[in-house]
Amino acid sequence: MNNPDLAIKKTARLVRVAAWGQVLGYMLFSLSLVIEDAPAFFSRVDPLELIWPIILLIAIHVLKLDVVVSRFVPRWFIVFGILVLSLATLAASIMALSLAFGIPSAFATSGWQYLQISTIVMFIVFAVSFMLNLVLSVRAMQASDEAQSPNVA
């Protein structure tokens, strides 16, 4: 495999991992609300809002959107966009933690404890996703540099 292919492969992996991380964090929190509101499952969660993450994953795995994007969009832009996105959702999850833990522990009813646990899970998913994206971004950029540099071997 030559270097340009390797660079595209690594960038496509970054796109896939980033998409899965973001969708997973969002869907897990959505699921926590849906379960909590049972049997009126969609009182707070609009079911239409759960369709686009699924469409995105289908586009990546069936239509190979990750490969198309990696091939035709500049690598620096993919890395920049993914890092902004994962940082933003990480910030949102930190805000969520701050809201969920913003009451004295003595006031935390079972409902508050449920919210606290679900925000912790979301924070962990987004934090891990951000770290993975960071590592994969560096690797993608390194592969990109190798692809551009002359082969001295």
Binding site: Q22, G25, Y26, F29, S30, S32, L33, E36, D37, A38, P39, A40, S43, R44, V45, D46, E49, W52, P53, L56, L65, V68, V69, R71, F72, V73, P74, F77, I78, F80, G81, I82, V84, L85, A88, T89, A91, A92, S93, M95, A96, S98, L99, A100, G102, I103, P104, A106, F107, T109, S110, G111, W112, Y114, L115, S118, T119, M122
Partner: protein, 238 residues
Amino acid sequence: MNPDLKRLRTPIIALMIFGLIAFPLATGAAFPLQAASAVSPALQISYEPDIPALEFVTEEPDFIATAVDAGEIGDLAGEGLPSYQRAACGSIDDDICYEICYLGECFIYGDDDDRVKRYKDKVDEVKEGFAKLELARIGTGETIWETVGTCLKSIGAGMGVGGVIAGIVVVADPTGIIKGLAVGGAILSVLGGGAICGGAVVGAGADKVAEEQIVDEIRIANEDAVFEFNDLKQDPPG
């Protein structure tokens, strides 16, 4: 047409279509916050001061099933908070009497004494505060969900639009100021999505202020109730 450009035409068109779909999502990303709150059922708390347990009444009772499950709040005495309940007056010369409790200590007083009335009012305020806090929690969950969704949609759409622009830059390979403007536009589209996301995160901060206000109300009402409790304990009605 340049063969390279011809080969790239289909993926570029696909990317442009993706961008066109993503862009309306980005521009509408701020609206779900308002729309969702407008659609949410109006909640109403029905509170009976003489009944120790909290009672929620909503248009959709199932909606806050879990919140009602927090009926443990209704037992304020169990939480070490001031509480009261109707009791037989016995030898007390009064028609209506209450047993008032705090930290395991309980006394029975007639309700003719203003301090007993004030104590009851403050305990009721504590209960109402907890009910408000539960409703705040329900709203908080929804706010968090909408904020994360807004971030994903706005920045995702910004990436889609920016990706199309950046892709065209690679294919068309413009030079000079046009390239600079195109690259700047691609970056700005992502940052624009980030700004929408940031606005949603900051907006969610209002929920935190509301939470803190409710907690303060509960604390103040609790302290007032404790004050009346201690006053009655030290200087019982004659």
